[in-house]
Structure formats: structure tokens, C-alpha cells
Amino acid sequence: MQPAPASALSTLADPPTRMVDGAVMDYFLIEAVNALRVSSAVAAARAKKIECDMAEAGLLPPPPPAKQQNTRDSISSTTGKIMGSVDEEEGIRSRLEAIGMHVGGNFVERLCCDRSLFSDSLDAIKFVCKELWVSCWDKQVDNLRTNHRGVYVLQDNAFKPIARISSWEGRQEALKRAKLYVALPAGIIRGALSRIGFHGTVVPEITTLPQCTFQIKLPKNT
């Protein structure tokens, strides 16, 4: 009777769950958003420069003038500025969602290794609401609604990634800035569902901090 190989085998067969420290994850995500902001600004500037170069070389039509001084066009110039910042936000948001999709897909592989196949999309959504939420954010989803035609709304009354967000400029400003920090969780959900086999879209929405809803649209044939 040799206990050593038996315990080594059992560790291989049933590996202990690996965990990530919650505080470390918070710090990492804060820095990740800042780093992605810088990198997406650099990428946007590079794309703009290439466009300008190509326009000068005559390969592209010249871009519309960005600044105009007429009162009539004052609206368009302000929308130009707003569109600029929206584009920048969009750049960061899409990068965060892409990272989330990778994380969600790989994470769900590990979570599902002992499970049977999912019978239908409702089953998959319930899995997301219970197991994925518990593994990532230590609680379950508070409310699940569906129209039985492929649209599911998941509501979490105290969503962990945005639970600490608070700004000196007031609630409205904090709410606006918090929209960026739910892009990664939305990506995780989307990546998880996609790895299970349900390819859809996930749209996060924050009405009041710290309450957050995710609207999931899955294709109707499943």
C-alpha cells in the first residue's frame, strides 16, 4: 500500500479549485482600464494619421473639416467633440469586452468539465445566473426575466465590480463613468455563452449604482 502515488493521482483527477484574490482583481482591473485608455488613444491616433496621409496622397477623399466657426455649425462642432470622446470610450469598451470574452470562454471550460450538456438556452442562462455569477462575483443574480423568445434580462441589485464606484462630482457623474467598468463583465458573460454554444449579444445597463442589468439576446432557433 503506497499512499504517495494514490494522493498524487487523486490530485490529478480532481484538482483543487484555483482562486483569485478579490482585492488583487480589483486593482488589476483599475489599472487595466487606464492602460487600455492610453493604448486605444494611441491606436486611434495612428489610424487617424494613416487616414490623413492617405488623404494627402489622394487615395482617400479628404476628411470633413473638424472645426467650423459659424454659429450654424456650432452644433456640429460640439457634436464633433462629443463624437470624439464617444469614439474613444467605444475603443476602450470594445477592447474590454474582447478581453472579457476570452476570459469568459476559458473560465466556463473549467466550470463545465463535470456537467452534462445544456438542454436549451434557458438552461444555459440559468447556469450563467447561478454558477458563473457565484464563481466570479460571489453571489447569484437577483432577478431573471425572459420573453421566451430569446431575450433574457438579468438583474443584479449590488453588482460587485461597480459596488465601490463613487465620485466627488456626484451620482450622475459616477454613473456615467461606471458604464465603462461593466464592459468586462458583459464580455465574460458573452464569452461564456458563446463557448457553451449560444452566440448572442450582451448589453449592460446601469440605472442606479450599484444596480446593474444585462440584456442577453440569443438567436431564436435554440
Partner: protein, 206 residues
């Protein structure tokens, strides 16, 4: 027994947070450029068009102890309570000067203690006839300064609780707060609310 106010300074020697509970005189607003942006709604300079910033829900009700002369004659036997850093001519300093004064006091006392007793000694608290000042300094250079009445002891523990609780939760782990920036303070709603709750829940708070 009561607690007067709390100042937090960062390692760049700037005041990044201020909150008070009992003061005889309202702190005068800082001049333009005197203090950083997000220190406290109550002492920030007014915007150029004269509109005061929207008051946070947790500005203390100063009219519990305020009076026009700056002295409070209480109903009981307590001696009159004076604003500890009140100017000699009883005109209030603007807040940025007051904050710099407080910082100067603790910095000089800290250096003196270290020179006298060696680098392991720490200055923690001093007491005058009307107030007591408690200091808690973190390894990262944040200094938590609390002023209380002269009879209260052991507030260093409370400052440490503030650091471990509200500060870690709502400043360090808050994505919207820029720590260690030289242009902004650390004021935010949740932080202010949780410190208020903690301090008001203390047994020494009247």
C-alpha cells in the same frame, strides 16, 4: 467628549480630504487654487460665477455650536470651545492656510521626535488645554489627523480603523479616485458617508 474634525494628507504634503463634525466657526473657503479639487465641498473655492458647489449630504450642522463671536457658552460647566487654529485677531483663516498650518505642526513635531529618540519612535498625539490632536501615519505616507476635545484618548485606533475600512474600500479600491495625483483630492460620496457613520457610532462622540 467629542470629535471636531479630520484631515487627511498625502505624501506630497497636500491636504486631500477634510471633514468636520463640530466647529465653532465655519471654515472659510479656500482661495482659488488654494486647495485641490476634491477635498471637501464645504471648503472648496466658489466657482467664478459665484455658485456654491452642491452641498454634500454630510456637511455637519455647524449651527449646533456656531455663534458670531466664536465663543460658545454652553449650558453646562464646560469651558468655551475655541477653534484650535483660530487666528490671533479672531478672523478665520481661509481653509488652505489652515490646512497648511496643521500639516506644518505635525511635520515639525514628527521630525523633532525622530531626531530626539531615533527613527523608530513615532509622534502620535499632542494635547493643549482645549483640544487634542491625534496622528496616524501609514507606510505609504498618508497622514490621518484628527482633532478632538482634550479629554479623549486613544483616537489613534479610530484613525487606523478609518484607514482599514472606508479608506481601503472607497478610495484605494474605487476606480474613479486617482490616488497619488497631485491635482485631485480623494473626496467621494461613499467615503464621506462611511467615515461619518463610523465616527458618529463611536462611544466618545456625544
Amino acid at each position: 467628549m467629542t470629535i471636531y474634525s479630520l484631515y487627511i494628507y498625502d505624501r506630497h504634503c497636500a491636504c486631500v480630504y477634510y471633514q468636520d463634525w463640530h466647529r465653532t466657526k465655519q471654515p472659510k473657503r479656500a482661495g482659488e487654487g488654494g486647495i485641490l479639487n476634491a477635498v471637501s465641498q464645504a471648503v472648496s473655492p466658489l466657482t467664478p460665477d459665484g455658485v456654491a458647489p452642491t452641498p454634500s449630504a454630510f456637511t455637519s450642522p455647524r449651527n449646533t455650536l456656531s455663534s458670531t463671536t466664536g465663543l460658545v457658552v454652553a449650558v453646562g460647566e464646560d469651558p468655551p470651545v475655541q477653534d484650535p487654529v483660530e487666528h490671533a485677531r479672531s478672523s478665520t483663516l481661509p481653509f488652505d492656510e489652515e490646512a497648511k498650518l496643521v500639516y506644518g505642526v505635525i511635520l515639525s513635531l514628527r521630525n523633532m521626535v525622530k531626531k530626539l529618540s531615533g527613527r523608530d519612535e513615532q509622534f502620535t498625539c499632542y494635547r493643549t488645554s482645549t483640544y487634542r490632536l491625534h496622528l496616524y501615519e501609514t507606510v505609504s505616507g498618508y497622514k490621518f489627523v484628527m482633532l478632538s476635545d482634550a479629554a479623549t484618548e486613544g483616537l489613534r485606533f479610530v484613525l487606523r480603523q478609518i484607514y482599514n475600512g472606508p479608506f481601503l474600500d472607497f478610495v484605494v479600491r474605487n476606480p474613479l479616485v486617482l490616488m497619488d495625483s497631485q491635482v485631485q483630492g480623494i473626496d467621494n460620496d461613499y467615503f464621506r458617508a462611511s467615515i461619518d457613520r463610523l465616527v458618529r457610532g463611536l462611544s466618545v462622540f456625544n
